[in-house]
């Protein structure tokens, strides 16, 4: 399945895009998505451990299953306020 992933802040600059498309196996988890991300964009590797995934605007753990059509975002460490 194809999943669109939103990127923000420094991640946007590393990848060079605000949104990317990843090709994932059906039943893939957020953990799988992160591995695919590191594979496709090696420069993201050093930051992967600090990234958290949001699916449909809720933070989800690595074991969460992604479904086609989900609104997925990779969230770097936050610094609002």
């Amino acid at each position: 399945m194809k999943v669109n992933v939103r990127l923000f802040a420094g991640l946007t600059e590393i990848v060079g895009a605000r949104q990317i498309e990843l090709d994932l196996a059906d039943g893939a988890t957020v953990g799988d998505l992160r591995e695919k991300m590191a594979e496709k964009f090696p420069a993201v590797g050093p930051f992967l451990s600090s990234l958290v995934c949001a699916v449909n605007e809720e933070y989800v753990p690595a074991g969460h299953h992604v479904r086609e059509g989900d609104d997925v975002a990779l969230i770097p460490p936050v610094s609002g306020g």
């Binding site: 923000f8 605007e57 610094s79 609002g80």
Partner: protein, 148 residues
């Protein structure tokens, strides 16, 4: 009242929104862009948000604060875009019958915003710029979603 906006922040509507006739205290917090950080001179600050999720998270934080403290109401507004030194980026207003609750709730609220709301800031100096390190969101330990 919980929102993310590109416009300059005005505290008056937030204070109006939270005060009840029962309220004896209102605490209003302004997070302001300051001219220094980590020993460097800051010229301006750029705020980026995952706007729709950030607005939802501001509301979630507000609801968490309402559960934890005996307050009358709370309102939060966060600005995004390019802000100059001295401009407020964040407003939190809390009303309560007694002042200690309003002070504690507002302080806790600001701490939580910095932990969970998907907003990022980039410092601009005279000779460059950088995204701030920030706080990795703790997914394993989300904020409580039912009354404590």
């Amino acid at each position: 009242m919980f929102f993310v906006t590109r416009d300059p922040l005005d505290p008056a509507p937030l204070v109006e929104a939270v005060r009840r006739d029962e309220s004896g205290a209102v605490v209003l917090f302004y997070g302001v862009v300051r001219n220094h950080n980590d020993g460097r001179r800051v010229r301006s600050m750029e705020y980026e948000a995952y706007e729709s999720m950030a607005a939802r998270k501001l509301e979630e934080v507000g609801e968490e604060v309402r559960r934890r403290f005996p307050i009358d109401d709370i309102a939060i507004a966060h600005r995004v875009g390019h802000l100059q030194v001295g401009e407020p980026s964040l407003l939190v207003a809390v009303a309560s019958a007694h002042r200690a609750d309003a002070f504690e709730a507002a302080h806790y609220c600001v701490d939580r915003i910095k932990e969970v709301v998907p907003i990022w800031k980039k410092e601009h100096w005279d000779d460059g710029s950088a995204w701030l390190k920030g706080h990795a969101v703790d997914v394993a330990e989300p904020e409580p979603t039912s009354p404590a």
